[in-house]
């Protein structure tokens, strides 16, 4: 009973939050010219027009394709390198500075390098997503390997498990929470930087359209894309990531 009540009260709170936001937005838009702050109706109208644009699906899928490709590569490379560095202290000490350097270079700089190296192509965005996401995953997996409980390894050794079996049955499950949370973070970052990369290094995609709209001072279009992006991220979070997390980590005590 109280859980159901809590549920409804949360929904109510969210509704209040959204309404307040829309009202403030609307009031503010009355005070300003539309090219600085378009009102809610104008933006909704722009979203509708976006859906009707023939290139709309093409732009969205181009961005998704690049983000997913960069992110998948980052997961594979990041997890493999993280495991290697976690397994080998000498290797880890040797490469640690490289990681520090990569981590301090901003995504904008990667984007500029990417333009120089790959020009206007998919590779530019993929590269930027990769360079942003990969170190995050690598660092977390590496850290995860170091926290694998030695008692479990000893248990596996007492059962005379092979190295491969230990990796599969003890190490992987132990680092999965680290991998998952870093992948989630990396996906969020990768997604955001992909737009930065697309504004300068693409001829289609959401980032490219955003810049086009900005250049033409179509502020309502910029708002429309932003609204869509937020919606898409919320959708992915609630329909993929949350359920996946629940399913993968159902063995964890819920306090």
């Amino acid at each position: 009973m109280s859980i159901i009540n809590q549920h409804w009260s949360l929904i109510l709170q969210r509704l209040v939050l959204v309404s307040v936001f829309v009202i403030v937005w609307w009031l503010a838009s009355l005070q300003m010219p539309a090219f600085i702050l378009p009102g809610p109706q104008r933006v909704i109208e722009a979203v509708r027009r976006l859906f009707e644009t023939p290139s709309f699906l093409n732009d969205v899928s181009a961005t998704f394709r690049r983000v997913l490709l960069g992110f998948t590569l980052a997961m594979i490379v990041g997890a493999t390198l993280g495991l290697l560095l976690g397994a080998n202290k000498i290797l880890a000490r040797f490469f640690e500075p490289v990681l520090a350097v990569i981590n301090t270079v901003s995504s904008a700089i990667w984007a500029i390098f990417a333009i120089i190296w790959f020009g206007i192509s998919d590779a530019t965005t993929v590269f930027v997503v990769f360079m942003t996401a990969m170190p995050l995953i690598l660092t977390n997996v590496w850290q995860g390997v170091q926290t694998v409980d030695r008692q479990y390894i000893q248990l596996a050794l007492s059962l005379r498990m092979s190295k491969l079996a230990i990796l599969r049955k003890i190490v992987f499950p132990s680092i999965l929470p680290y991998f998952f949370s870093s992948a989630r973070l990396a996906f969020g970052f990768g997604w955001r930087v992909s737009l930065v990369a697309e504004t300068i290094g693409a001829s289609e995609g959401i980032g490219y359209r955003l810049r086009q709209a900005a250049d033409l001072v179509q502020t309502d279009q910029v708002f429309a894309w932003t609204l869509l992006l937020v919606m898409m991220m919320l959708f992915i979070e609630s329909s993929v990531l949350k359920p996946l997390e629940k399913r993968l980590f159902r063995w964890k005590a819920t306090t």
Partner: protein, 256 residues
Amino acid sequence: MTTEEKTKTKTLGKAAISLNGVGKKFSNTQVLEGISLDVSEGEIVALLGRSGCGKSTLLNIISGLLPFDQGTVSIEGVISKNYTDWHSIAYMFQEDRLLPWRSIIENVCLSLETGSSSFNERRQRAMKVLKIVGLEQVAHAWPYQLSGGMRSRAALARSLVINPSILLMDEPFSKLDPLTRSLMHTEVLRLQRERKVSVLLVTHDVEEAVVLADRIVVLAPSPGRVATIEPNQLSHPRVPTDPLVAEKIRQLRLKV
């Protein structure tokens, strides 16, 4: 070896575990020194001693998990580094070490996954042992949902499921209530009687040692060494209220 000698050793029972002058150093402290000790086939030996005197270290050495510095360890008559049949040795650690991401039955199955049995076979065997330790109701629960005593029984099931011929146990029953504990004692004695399992059992409980063991080894601390070996030939079942058993317990308490 003459035929006469052969029969003699046979009647005495071949040593399942044989330690000869085993010593172990951790960095510069001698933790174990000159440990000589045999566990015969089908014998239960209890290991008593103060906290930190090296009991777990000794079990780690016997199970082949920890290298040691002096002496020799033989298992079933074979020097331990040449020994191959490790799958017939079960080691129940001091901690339950249940993998949190596996359900109870999956944890028990872990012991069988190095063998060639099929998934269904493993499940069936696991379920059978879970029944023996009284956990069939929670077979599909996650470890975090179990009490400490239930967890240690799950760990016991994981050790028993391989049908070991040698059982190393480190304070296996310390978290159980008296009733469950005596049920588990009965189970260990049944394994000894019916399947000739050799058991080396670490405990802090003198009563438990007297109820279960055929011989009781008391370790002295720093460095860990054998202080006394106390034979125990009282007839089963041994009830602590029985005057003979009570006397044995009293005597032994003085030596620990």
